[in-house]
Amino acid sequence: MELFTNQVLAGIATGAIYACMALAVVMIYQAIDHLNFAQGEMAMFSTFVAWQLMQWGVPYWGAFVITLAFSFVGGIAIERLLFKPLAKAPILTNVAGFIALYAIINSFAGLIWDFTIKQFPTPFGSSPFLGSQLISTHQAGMIGVTMILLLLLFFFFRFTRIGLAMRAAASLPESARLVGINTSWMIALGWGMAAAIGSIAGMMIAPVVFLEPNMMLGVLIYGFAAAVLGGLTSPFGAVIGGFLVGIFENLAGTYIPGIGNELKLPIALALIIVVLVVKPAGLFGRPIVKRV
């Protein structure tokens, strides 16, 4: 029983990573109604930018803020330059665009910073949290940051005018235009915000998984899975989903015989799919009624 509890707690700790990423995933889904495969790479690139700033002597929080701003602007720029032209193209073509973006960012990161692993500092320290062996202060800090992000997003969408406009644009673009909302810029804004959130996720994750160009792929998949599990329209669901994915992953690794590290990912995904077959809109998502 103790092993079980420990694994659950450890799962929550690692799940904070996925929760953070899942928030960025939900953010972009709210804006553009699909998942962006390149999001992990964008987060990785932002994290490298932060690292580079710190190499040049900028203190941690300074680098953090600059990176946040850079990511926000970068996300908008990528959307305006690369995806606005594809707005009328079929969805699958857009997906191909995401894959192309992935390849481009990954390649550039590898060229600029090469593939050797780098250390990334944490502002929270790495000592055991409240004496517990399972959660470090960094992981606790990560959970805290994720919670703050969640609250900020909730506040943004629920109580600000621009949040309301974004929700409207994502929900019914044509109606949104009919109240004067520039839906095209709402999409750009969504990308910017998702990129910024992704950069925070990257900077939280890097101290744990170490900084290198391929660090985000596994995290992104788990982030997708977490967002889907939570219900793609719900930031709250994304966070819960993240923790659940972390727990699933740990329990699967511990209790299912013969599963080494490599099969953890497909098993976790399989578990999520089982949930989806039962609850197709995810745990907290709105059930979608399709009309002919």
């Binding site: 969805i91 665009g97 793609l232 490599e262 399989a270």
Partner: protein, 338 residues
């Protein structure tokens, strides 16, 4: 959380290919066929090998076109079926000494079954959820192939070596050339069968499901049957492609069948034109040759160059090679009139 359901009147996620445009005209088809038959007689073995792989990947892309382009189901998991087909063929040939040609239908049938079985639970999933499920399948496959418990058959991480067959009846051609013509014959047979499938009642059922599943069901189309059938057929063809691939490459190993392959096939489908079977060969050419070109342009930035070239393609022709074909046909039509 709210109890209000979100009512969605969706446009189909996958757009329809107009019926007229489903295949190339007779003239163009014959021209392409002629090229495919004649060119290998004049080039080196390595080029012949590449052309064989071109046909093999074209088959796999075509299978994906049937699944996604025709029945509207997303799959990022084709690499799993390809792997099963490849391994089935390899094991049958090397462990049980079965003739290579016989392994193709066996691989096809096994993969059809596998795809059909996968299609059943997938019935409740669509769009991004189905993509995730098939993605899980694709990532699991290399790991499953490495599992200790299967090692006596699969050869574990090392994989298996496959013997390339000689030309039969003592025909005076290299192994590569024989394998190429064998693959060409198989590909043509499958292509013709696929076109006929899409033109048949089943094909129309697929497309009805793609365009509007609820309406199709209301019209009496057995949606569950056709969706799983589409998965099965697609998996079966991909399995045959995998089997041919195993023979052409002369070995099978788990890391040859990763998610990268599934993503490449997906890109091949988009570049060729989703749902347009003739485009499969264009898509296949893209995924075989463009990465090499990219690496030739810049070794350090090969990924970035590939991405940029891919962007160029999708900016110029968002609907893939089919769009090029349509434009070309329009131009020819105009020239004929003047």
């Amino acid at each position: 959380m709210s109890a209000v359901q979100e009512v969605v009147t969706e446009a189909p996620a996958v757009e329809a290919v107009p019926k007229k445009a489903m295949t190339l005209g007779y003239g163009t088809s014959l021209a392409v066929l002629a090229l495919l038959i004649v060119v290998p007689l004049f080039v080196k073995n390595f080029i012949i090998f590449q052309m064989t792989m071109l046909l093999i990947y074209a088959l796999a892309v075509m299978a994906l076109n049937i699944l996604t382009g025709s029945s509207g189901q997303f799959s990022l998991g084709q690499s799993a079926f390809y792997a099963v087909g490849a391994y089935t063929s390899a094991i049958l040939m090397e462990t049980y000494n079965i003739n290579y040609a016989l392994t193709l239908p066996i691989s096809g049938i096994i993969c059809f079954g596998f795809g059909y079985l996968f299609g059943k639970p997938a019935l409740r999933l669509s769009g991004v959820y189905l993509a995730l499920a098939t993605f899980a399948l694709a990532t699991a496959m290399p790991q499953l192939l490495k599992l200790g418990v299967f090692e006596p058959w699969t050869g574990g991480v090392q994989g298996l070596v496959v013997t390339k067959p000689d030309a039969p009846f003592g025909l005076p051609m290299s192994q590569d050339m024989w394998l190429y013509y064998f693959t060409l014959a198989v590909s043509i047979a499958i292509y013709v069968a696929s076109v006929n499938l899409l033109r048949s009642r089943s094909g129309r059922a697929f497309m009805a499901i793609r365009d509007n599943e609820i309406a199709a069901s209301a019209m009496g189309v057995d949606v569950a049957l056709y969706k799983t059938l589409a998965f099965g057929v697609s998996a079966g063809i991909t399995g045959v492609a995998g089997a041919l691939g195993a023979i052409a490459v002369q070995f099978v190993a788990p890391d040859s069948y990763t998610i990268t392959l599934a993503i490449s096939l997906f890109l091949g489908m988009v570049v060729g034109g989703v749902g347009w079977l003739p485009g499969s060969i264009v898509g296949s050419a893209f995924i075989i040759f463009v990465p090499n070109i990219a690496e030739g342009i810049s070794k350090g930035l090969s990924g970035a160059v590939f991405g940029i070239l891919l962007f160029l393609v999708i900016f110029l022709v968002p609907h893939g090679a089919r769009q090029v074909s349509v434009v070309a046909q329009q131009l020819i039509g105009k020239l004929r009139k003047s």
